[in-house]
Symmetry: C2
Subunit: 348 residues, 2 copies
Amino acid sequence: MESRNIRLAVIPGDGIGTEVVAEGLKVLEAVGTKIEPTHYDLGAARYHRTGETLPDAVLEELRGYDAILLGAVGDPSVPPGILERDLLLKLRFEFDHYVNLRPVKLFPGVDTPLADTPAEDIDMIVVREGTEGLYAGTGGAMRRGTPYEIATQESLNTAYGVERVVRYAFEKARSRPRKKLTLVHKTNVLTYAGDLWQRTVNRVAEEFPEVTTDYCHIDAASMFFVSQPERFDVIVTDNLFGDIITDLGAAIAGGIGLAASGNINPERTAPSMFEPVHGSAPDIAGQGKADPTATILSVAMLLDHLGRHAEAAKVEQAVAEDIVERLAGWAGRTTHEIGDDITARVSG
Amino acid sequence: MESRNIRLAVIPGDGIGTEVVAEGLKVLEAVGTKIEPTHYDLGAARYHRTGETLPDAVLEELRGYDAILLGAVGDPSVPPGILERDLLLKLRFEFDHYVNLRPVKLFPGVDTPLADTPAEDIDMIVVREGTEGLYAGTGGAMRRGTPYEIATQESLNTAYGVERVVRYAFEKARSRPRKKLTLVHKTNVLTYAGDLWQRTVNRVAEEFPEVTTDYCHIDAASMFFVSQPERFDVIVTDNLFGDIITDLGAAIAGGIGLAASGNINPERTAPSMFEPVHGSAPDIAGQGKADPTATILSVAMLLDHLGRHAEAAKVEQAVAEDIVERLAGWAGRTTHEIGDDITARVSG
Ligand SMILES: CC(C)[C@H](C(=O)O)[C@@H](O)C(=O)O
Ligand SMILES: CC(C)[C@H](C(=O)O)[C@@H](O)C(=O)O
């Protein structure tokens, strides 16, 4: 495996997506990974030009890659939901990315908005389900635009879908020193779905006696992220709660500029996809203001997923060192400059 | 109105609910409000004794009061959802508490977990919808307990339900100095419900030209609560997002011990209900450790709702003063002691 080139599909997408992905690729090449990148022009520009979001032929082509690197998708010129549903979420669903892996880790030296919180208190991994729940997209509207309109959204949860992600989370928890898994849900209101999630956690827990399990309502969890982040080690949660809590996680761990994610297909029946947690940020696009670190850390996750553990560690190490420099007052760099600095470190 | 006694239904509920409600009542009486309180024994104990959560006859009786003061509901000995759905949420739904009003305000002197955040940066009001969305309770499970189980939850949103709460929020925004209203939702994924919410805000906005409107996804909003809370003045959002964001709001504004709420029926076709945002906290129940301040501030909201503005202001003032004492190092008081201290201030 080490010798074969990585066939990488690159989807820069919209806004700052293109800027940060360029830096990610630079680091990926510098760390010594032999990659064959192919760029795909998908996102708002293509949608406006051709009306296409993700043509079937492109989807099938993407299936053949070892992995996908994605920047960000979404633009105010496109009605909400179109690029999200028909491009980003379509990739997650079609490629069965049922694990959306999002580390929430405070690098030493990074400023957290939380007062008096030592870096080691914020070190968790959120295992967000990626293919079900309210993201299924089912629902509808009736009598739209009238005073009698009703709009519905449905959360779909299956034993199949919940069990596989819960099992993944238990394995993750077992591999970490604290071996603690917290289910985050809202079982007291979403009683049907909550019951399925809780029963599944209880059942799978029997196979992992070394893992401590815990439960926390999503509302309380949001509170504890701020007041007692050290409560959490591995979190498993549904698609929507995971979306919310990982942005909150990014906020407490130094900001969205550092938050990486992997959309993982653990059985490798399709390529996994790596992307920063942040969006396309149209307000700062094209100005060199975006921090590419989240994308570079997503590249590290990509390397890890492909078995290139040494290279992954090298990228992470370079980021950690770069962050210490920032602490020393070396801020105000452009997207390129941060990318260059981290590239220099991994090449060294 | 000033001369008539307030007929108050009191539902202490479970855990610390009974402890904090006792202090709330003490303050209410001391501030000079003539009240006739009637206690209702509802919650886990009654459920275990009789199997009842909220008998129809009790519900009808409650309808006759001027207001309801509730402590907290829920106990680990009762399966999740039973007391929540059949007691707390039933009251909110039956009494059409479509506005769940939750101020997020940092009192001067209160410690926020956020570093470098001046008190004036955290001063918002969340107008949470209280009778629709995923709280409708619709959904179900099929093939429960088998590998083929499917569990669903439905979010129900109506033009009627959304418009009335949006209108309330605009009025609230207009009455405040900044006059800014932010819709928090997830329109890019929950496209049907999001479309209804966004269109409704856009339409009602035309009637409130002096109010600035804004939109924020729930994930980004969670981030901004931590990183830029000053972005928000009045927030309007659905039932579930409101649940999450107000716990997060409590966390940044000094903790759940201070967070008050009102379940409001603005047309007064049924009594409104006031309760602390916190739950029954069985882990600290009966130990005098609970902070009754959230309940006491809920009492202030109750007074305000009933037109006793001077008394409401007096209670708020007493709390603000008490909080300054805490800052001066006078911590470690019991539930009773805090209640007594605030009572002394309003009686003075
Ligand atoms: C863009 C949006 C559809 C997406 C999501 O909600 O999953 C994003 O917020 C994320 O977290 O990756
Ligand atoms: C107890 C629970 C049903 C309730 C809710 O979710 O509304 C609580 O969390 C709240 O915020 O008042």
